[in-house]
Symmetry: D2
Subunit: 382 residues, 4 copies
């Protein structure tokens, strides 16, 4: 299988998530990085490209330059897909431009700053039938896919309640004042958007809920707090949710819970059973049925559904983790790119990744949560 040629926007020196995207793409040998506009600073962008061993002619100073020059290359040479890993404020313009120029796009989350942007982007994708994936990377875990399948197969019956939380502690002090780059942009409204914890990690929680249950948030009642003096955005979020079909939910996101690392966890309670999953032990999925022993489903076993099987590389007990889940989102996008090149329609197992619509819905939820927190009205419709 010939690897997909991809380019990257953002992710140069000093960045964090760009390197994760590259490792995820490299892992399975299905893609090769051939171009990049790796920083908003052109010089730094080119130096970063050199660091990565890119051909100097394809280490671009800006994403506009990359778009123009790659578009001019022969079809079998130019990049097929662009990965956008910049801070949130620099997603919309390149994403829209690359979509409009006919490239496949993988974009980090939250998708964009406003639901207006989100709608324009989604419309562009719909219009062209573009391949567009949003790296809600936790959806790539095999057992998240199994959880989704259990719900779809009716193992849990009708969903009544969902409790999802994303708990971290790394922003329990004013880390942004120390110059720490990740803290700096994530707490800056200009780059991060209207929400802090809610946007950065609450968006993952919302997407995880929607992915597993297939239910969307219809109403929110939120309490956002900024606990750390001098911080410009919320660092803690507590949200009551109403979901499609009468289900209820609670979403919490916190970045001030000292000593918590990356505890994303979800519990889903239905009329026929319950499930729970925790990101820090991703190879286990807990299923509870009435009057039966608790069942621990583990990755790599024959009793799992096709989606979980497909998302697994190595035998059970040989743990797979964050990078593999990230890679699974990319593998889905790659399959969609190949299918499109071959003029075929990929099945749902093949092109299994969060879409621009998922991303747009996430942006709307963030916006409404922020509004709700400032409002005296109890419930805001999404």
């Amino acid at each position: 299988m010939t690897p997909i040629r991809y380019g990257m926007v953002g992710g140069g020196r000093g960045a964090f998530i760009g390197a994760v995207h590259r490792k995820a793409c490299a892992l399975d040998g299905e893609a090769v990085l051939v171009a990049g506009a790796l920083s908003s600073d052109p010089e730094r962008a080119r130096a970063s490209a050199a660091d990565l061993g890119l051909d100097p002619s394809r280490g671009y100073g800006t994403w506009r330059e990359m778009l123009e020059r790659e578009s001019a290359l022969a079809e079998d040479e130019r990049i097929e897909l662009v990965s956008i890993v910049t801070p949130n404020d620099a997603h919309f313009e390149p994403a829209l431009a690359f979509v409009e120029a006919g490239f496949a796009v993988v974009c980090d989350k939250p998708l964009v700053h406003t639901s207006e942007q989100a709608e324009r982007l989604a419309a562009a994708v719909r219009e062209r039938g573009s391949v567009f994936a949003v790296t809600y990377n936790y959806t790539g875990y095999p057992l998240v896919r199994e959880a989704r399948d259990l719900v779809r197969r009716g193992e849990l019956g009708e969903i009544r309640k969902v409790v999802v939380g994303y708990t971290q502690g790394w922003l329990s002090t004013l880390l942004e004042a120390t110059g720490q780059k990740q803290a700096d942009w994530r707490t800056d409204p200009a780059r991060s958007g209207v929400a802090g914890a809610m946007g950065d990690i609450g968006s993952h929680a919302e997407n995880l809920l929607a992915t597993i249950t297939g239910l969307h948030v219809t109403h929110v009642c939120a309490d956002l707090t900024t606990f750390v003096d001098g911080r410009k955005l919320d660092d803690d979020a507590s949200v009551l949710l109403r979901l499609d079909g009468g289900a209820r939910g609670v979403l919490t996101a916190s970045q001030i819970a000292i000593g918590y690392e990356n505890q994303l966890e979800i519990g889903v309670y239905g009329t026929a059973g319950s499930l729970s999953w925790r990101q820090e032990e991703p190879n286990e999925l807990v299923l509870r049925k009435p009057d039966e022993p608790v069942r621990i489903l583990t990755r790599g076993n024959p009793y799992l559904g096709e989606a979980a099987q497909k998302a697994t590389r190595i035998p059970s007990g040989h743990p797979e983790a964050f990078i593999e889940a990230f890679a699974n989102v990319y593998l889905g996008a790659f399959e969609a790119v190949r299918a499109r090149a071959a003029n075929t329609t990929p099945g749902p197992l093949e092109a299994d990744f969060p879409t621009v619509e998922d991303g747009a819905r996430g942006v709307r939820v963030i916006e409404r949560v922020v509004e709700s927190s400032a409002s005296d009205e109890k419930w805001l419709a999404v």
Copy 2:
């Protein structure tokens, strides 16, 4: 040490929690059951007394009879303390009457049906300086007491956020329709009060939060749901909380989470550290400090504070559990009774139990949560 003579109201044939109270009292040999009005049905009450081997003359048909006859006994013969373990609707009258007659009282939770009743009861207790304990039994766990001490000693700094949840699944169907006695009264507004899950288990969650953090709920924003068709009270509660001093909280209580047994758990996040505890593994307390390994504190160790040490019977690794925690609440009440008899003032370690004020506050929170759930206003003050 001469055992305390106690009587019991409720807890006869077919009851559940009465037997737990009796085992808790028997465990350490510090109290002996000598009288009882064990059912609202006089015949059943007397038969239950015979089952328990009580002297027939002290197996009363009603609590009023017990009150009258015990009051007439010699001081060194009559009961010193009465334990009230009836359904919620039958707490107020006997509790008030026994207090007014000068007896010590241990009463199950939630204390009473209305905050008006709670205030009357609390006033009576205050007026007489009575010994009055409410069996928020989870406060008796050694590591809950350690958690409270960690907060008091400032190990967590200023508390910012508390997340407390109490998750069960036993009412995920209309169990009350089958005649199951526990389900029957707990879902009946006449006996259980204005709230279902919120009253039965949410009240434990509220008390656990208050006990550990020392913070009280100032405002609530609640969403109560009745998921099971035909049920008369909520079986699920999600509540946003505002606490003293600017702290935030989330409280959930659910009885429809299939396969969950009795998962009461709490996380407390402060400016200097975090702690978490889970009732189903009560011998572990997790403490997190910035940039340090997670610490698991376990019962029975020398590094624990005095209150946790005192609440422990056997060495670490030999697990203690629910009944022992229950017994610890009683031991506190017994010490208070002895101190009062000796005209001494017990120290806080000696008379360590939830008070009538704790119970009254719990009733107010339940009431306001119910109102909030029905209201369009976002925040209701407690």
Copy 3:
């Protein structure tokens, strides 16, 4: 039900395990302590009896005195059962004497010092059909009984391998040199017998293995070590086992594993499934079957067998622990005493406790392990 009248040998001031026995007996109200020879020192014995509120006439100075005087009491007044909770060297004589005098006996483990003593005692019990229980207390856990049932019902198929370990750290220094009473006698060959860790805790491990699997040790190959300078007995044991019917085993017991509290754990692997259980989280039993999710069985659920149901007091999720398990052993002995008094034969569920034969077998295993450790021969038959 009239409580059983029991007496106690040992367990006075400064003792540890005696108080646990008393709490276990008190918990369910089925027995009442009416007599005691609570110390080898007569004065201390009488003072301890006063501490416990015994009638002074039945606070004896020696067990011989207790035997003589109780035997002389009317049948409906004298003790029905004696509980022997002295250090190991003081089990044999009173146990044999009380058996021969027609009393029921509950004796702590390891039963006696030598297999010759064990055989004499077992013969006396057999001859008279006495009720005689050995407090291998871990067998009283509901989920240990469930594990035994799973094996008996064939859920695991034929047993191939058992790995059992008992890991503690409290003797990692020469604690006996500090005067700590528990360390003092347990490391003294005169009182503890030929083995240290192997006798004190290895004997529990051996019994747990035999109880759950129904298999007996046929050959041992042992390596006992005394790691702490100045100690007189082993503080660490590693033993290869051959079991009935070709099964293999490994038994470890250590008291020098710093920070380990009381980690008794067992894994049993059969041709049709595996199970594992850990004493420090006793309310969970793990069952694994081929190509199925791992199942966690928890106490108090309807899918458990009769023995586990019977050994449970309160609903699932309300944890029961060490004292309750201890009490279950006693409840079995009490049922046997009652049955004998009524001239009936108790069923296996009723009189469920470790017998003198179990105790005798334990003594033989300890002896052979000690011999094996000193031998160049690889395998010694038990």
Copy 4:
């Protein structure tokens, strides 16, 4: 940094571990596969090379052909390192030949079939100062490296006891009779060597013990069993160990424990503390010190030592797992290759991988364990 050019022996169609090696090499972009002799069947070897997109001229039919042809290429074109991922019987010849021809080698474990082969290979490596790594991949986990550092820094004091177990269930039936390729060669003495479970997974356990503690096995007393009828090699091993300096150990390895996936776990008990680690939750390391709370060290934190920090890619709470650990062994070999090319000496942090000496020691232990199991002598010196 220019990627290392490497070739692979074995790992073609139908193989398992070869793909893991390739993913591990690809993950960090530090190596590129440019040549291969991917099967013992030349046609399959060339087809496998085509599958992987290798230049057809470098998809060799045999390793001898690869050795000859690569040796003839220019120094800046030929492979710098060869990765040998064949069944055990096909390690020795290519490993020796590539070493003698001056190539760096990464070889799977167990190293070779006999200690005579191991000695010859080790001698060749010593003579030439070759880079030679053995993929005891579990040593690449960051927290295994931290465990090693804790021991080296004296945090555990003097090591007294080590308990290491590797428990699997996949060979609980005669899987080799079904044609399953992994089962087929691993249970075949001709390809796997003198040991089954002991060689395949027991060797990992032995190496983990030696890596963490720095102690070597001096004597063994073993009981190997073949539980599955028709199997030619052991599927279960229980071994008592004597270690350097008087420490004791127990090693178990089993492939018949139904439902166990890949449970490699180790406990190390010293005079100043204990540690434990479990492969299936590799991001946690448990440290116990006297009279202190249990500490859970987690990957990616600033309190970890340099070796663990260096072996980490992404922040704490974003789990890394099996492939990353595997990649860490390779990264060490790559650094050694680069250092050698640059005529520098890599520091211990740079060239951190298991050596040919580790592999040779492992072979000797396996041999002696097999001899011990067949012997009536209790202890065999290694």
